[in-house]
């Protein structure tokens, strides 16, 4: 709005207590931000998430492995083979004890409580799935199905194989309807019918059990479920860390490289842009998979980090490598526009140095599209990590890692399995909460960042202020 000398009437009082100009600017930004309801909503949600992340990373929230029922101490763990010709000898090693059998089942009796590792002995000509694994022994008898196949299959993870999921232990919590719940950690199966794939689909829909968001079940072979609500809480810090670090470092790299490319032009521009093309041609997911697979199989850990930190580091690093070229392109295109603006020419005409022109005139005016892209990307990162898990790729050293993307991937898998298995056999119970709540967390985070960045852009850009 043009305010000529005639339209500005009463002079604004100029008191000696003029606030610090920078503080003044913050105040003004806050004033404009406050008027934007959506931005305030986003700010509130992000603030809450950060608090949760701090809380979750400083306290140990029990979110993992609860046994399905709390009963007697020693429990029977039964391994059941599928696919071997009858009479073939096979063996299982668990807790240092090896048992061999030619029958279908091998049983162990183990004290409840700890998690035991088991290994299936080699049978020539067959490969077992899972060939090894861990099993937490809780309050119920457990049954693990081992599938032997002739061709060596891809032994990624037993729990994620839909075939294994259909062969489920059906020995869980058989209580008659109307009887009181046996304990806080024991939950009823639907219609008290253990004959279908009960543990996968039925564990406490939200509101029925003591878990506010229901349980996350982790497929066959483990008689454990995970507290979905606590898992989401616990996963906040990892999710935020991953998204924010990948996006901000990617944007920073892209900003620097794109600005150099756009401002220098010529050969430098050409070289950088071709490099960007090369990086853009790398498929993101594949690259991250390869990086993690190669590095973690060659060296278990890098840079003296722990097993988990190595994975986090590699994940962030892998994404960064393929992430910056998008930003570099955006910034370059913007710099190409801005450098031709009259005010840049005016700055040159007034004797400003090159660095001053770039830092004060070109970069500040080229940054807005980057903010938009960043806010869009922040929500994408957890989805991509979830996608990796969904593909069956073990990016975490433990199979069930509290990160939103991972949780939602496991939830998605369970929903898919429920469709494939349960609906066919007539008892269709979809564990929707396992997909809904992680998805809701991701959605809230992504949309809050969007709202906030939109509001911030409006508040910071003097041209958009009203």
């Amino acid at each position: 709005m043009a305010t000529d000398s005639s339209t500005i009437s009463a002079p604004e009082p100029v008191r000696g207590r003029r606030p610090n100009p920078r503080l003044d600017q913050y105040k003004r930004t806050w004033y404009f931000l406050r008027r934007n309801t959506l931005a305030i909503f986003g700010l509130g949600v992000i603030f809450a998430l950060v608090l949760v992340a701090i809380y979750a990373s400083t306290t140990s929230i029990p979110w993992d492995g609860m046994p399905l029922c709390n009963s007697t101490n020693n429990q029977v763990v039964t391994f059941q083979e599928l696919g071997l010709p009858s009479g073939t000898s096979w063996s299982v090693t668990m807790d240092g004890v090896t048992q061999t059998s030619t029958g279908v089942n091998i049983s162990f009796s183990e004290p409840s409580g700890p998690t035991y590792l088991y290994t299936i002995g080699n049978v020539s000509g067959y490969s077992a799935a899972p060939s090894r694994g861990s099993i937490g022994v809780g309050g119920v008898p457990l049954q693990v199905s081992i599938r032997f196949t002739v061709a060596p299959g891809t032994a990624i993870s037993g729990r994620l194989s839909p075939a294994a999921a259909l062969v489920l232990p059906c020995t869980v919590c058989t209580y008659a309807a109307g009887t009181p719940s046996p304990g806080p950690n024991c939950y009823q199966t639907p219609k008290n019918n253990p004959s279908v794939i009960a543990p996968t689909v039925s564990l406490s829909p939200p509101g029925l059990g003591p878990l506010p968001m229901g349980a996350l079940t982790l497929g066959p072979g483990t008689a454990y479920f995970y507290n979905l609500f606590n898992g989401l809480l616990r996963g906040t810090d990892y999710s935020l860390l991953l998204s924010v670090s990948i996006v901000s470092v990617g944007a920073m790299l892209g900003l620097i490289i794109g600005a150099i490319s756009g401002y220098w032009g010529g050969v430098v521009d050409e070289a950088i842009m071709r490099l960007v093309d090369i990086f853009l041609s790398i498929p993101t997911i594949l690259f991250v998979i390869i990086v993690i697979a190669v590095v973690t199989t060659t060296y278990q850990t890098v840079l003296g980090l722990s097993l988990l930190d190595t994975r986090v580091f590699l994940l962030i690093g892998g994404f960064m490598v393929v992430w910056w070229p998008f930003y570099a392109r955006i910034v370059r295109s913007q710099v190409l526009v801005v450098r031709e603006q009259k005010y840049v020419e005016a700055a040159r005409a007034s004797g400003a140095s090159r660095s001053r022109i770039v830092l004060r005139h070109i970069i500040p005016n080229s940054m807005y599209p980057i903010f938009i892209q960043m806010s869009l990307d922040v929500g994408t990162i957890p989805l991509l990590t979830g996608f990796l898990v969904f593909l069956g790729f073990n990016i975490w050293p433990t199979p069930y890692f509290p990160e939103w993307g991972t949780i939602s991937a496991i939830g998605t898998l369970n929903v898919v399995q429920a469709f494939l298995g349960a609906c066919e056999s007539g008892a269709c119970a979809i564990p929707w909460w396992q997909l809904f709540f992680p998805g809701l967390a991701l959605f809230l985070f992504a949309i809050s960042v969007n709202f906030l960045s939109d509001g911030l852009r409006d508040a910071l850009d003097p041209r958009l202020r009203r």
Binding site: N20, G351, A352, P462
Partner: protein, 540 residues
Amino acid sequence: MAISEPPSTESPLPSEPRDRAGIEDLAAPADSTAPPDDVVLEVQDLRTYFFTYDGVVKALDGVTFKIRRGETTGLVGETGCGKSVTAFSITRLISDPPGRVMGGRITFAGANLLWDLEHEARFVPVKGTKRVKVKRSFRRVMAATERLAAVRGKSIATIFQEPTQAMNPIFSIADQLGEALLLHRGIEIFDALLAVTPDDPEVPAAIEELVTTARDGNRERLRAAALRVGDAVHLPSFGIQAFYIARAAGTDTESIRPDIEHAMRRLRVSGFQKGFLRSQRRLIGLQDETNKVHMDEMREGKSMGAALRHIRRQRRRERTARFYYGVRGVHARVNRPLKEELFWRTVGTLEGVSIANPVQVARGYPHELSGGMLQRVMIAMALSAEPAILLADEPTTALDVTIQAQILELMRELKHRVGTSILLITHDLAVIAEVADRVCVMYAGVIVEQGPVRDIFARPLHPYAQGLLASIPRVDQPNKELSSIPGSVPDLIDPPSGCRFHPRCPYAMPICKETRPPMTVEGPEHTVACYLYKGPVASE
């Protein structure tokens, strides 16, 4: 032209010897009437080409003129005749590629601004086309850019046609004007800040006087009293601040004293802040020294790499020191005194260009101001360095007529106050008649006629100048049909041979097609390039 021929030993650039003529040597023979040191800028045979896909556009082909001290030189011509290119070629703001200043001599304060031009690039014609490839020497182009930064803004300032686009939209007016002030008046600003005396014994009396004057309500006297407060603390900008504090207090005169005392408390610069300011001052001083060396380079025609490297080393060291202050000083707010000072100086500068409410304007952003206000700000910014020359590229074209008059009046006033010479580029002859002292008429990249403004308007000699003047509507001849010059501006890739105006000229003769007419003297300071006139050839 040499560059369209196959590569030969002949350089496309003028074979003019790089002599070390001072300003007197150059000015003396050319001009017998004016004292020799009157000429601030002398442009000789300036040639600027644009290397496009279709061929080489000879936008300027031998432009020669002078700018005298305190004089306004108007540059008129049709669109596309090279007016703006002339202005931008002087400080080499031509975007390169595609444009390049090819040759000539621009003498400013004894220095040839085009020194070392011939080594900056080689020109390779592409066979079978009219194209010419420019092979730049990266190092030398960079060096030239850095050299010219010594002149740009400080000695030769530029203002642009669209003021709304010539300011950075995301910084406030105070930020941008303050930056220009810091860039050009840095030493002065730091010296003032370091010499502040808030404990001066005269201060209480000055404040007392200000309060008394505020009660009395006379604006002029209030202003004077406020400036005396500034004098008492030895910081002129504080006087401006005090004035606005007093004015904002209005009838509540009792609040003036505490407000001023509060503001004054902020003038107490701590030892740490002083260290920071001194460091900044040294940096600006080193920058000025660099500029001086660059001027010497252009004056003496040799590169002074060793001296520059020495200064650069010192600057690096100083920047490290300032970085230390910057890091340590986040909590001490080391920059605050400087920011305050720049803000109030900006307010003072805006007052100087007759802006009614400078405090609000200084806090505002470019999009909040009208074109006329912004052009005032641009002028203030350009003149903050008190440059010797102001290149005004159609400064009033984008403004409406009443604002135009105000801006022109402002430029004239500032010219007298600062003593700046102005090169005014416009296609508006009325503007030229209003403000210019001398006029150069350009056509298709050459100056065809120049002389005093009265002379040109009363007695235009060149057929093109006559055509231009005939195409203005006149109040005294209401029934006369407006005439126009037939044809249009020629293609500058293949300009007409000889006189470039001959295809459109009503008086064209056979000789006009063959050779370019020389500049002949047809009156006091009045020269024209046309075969119709037989005066003595002007000595250049």
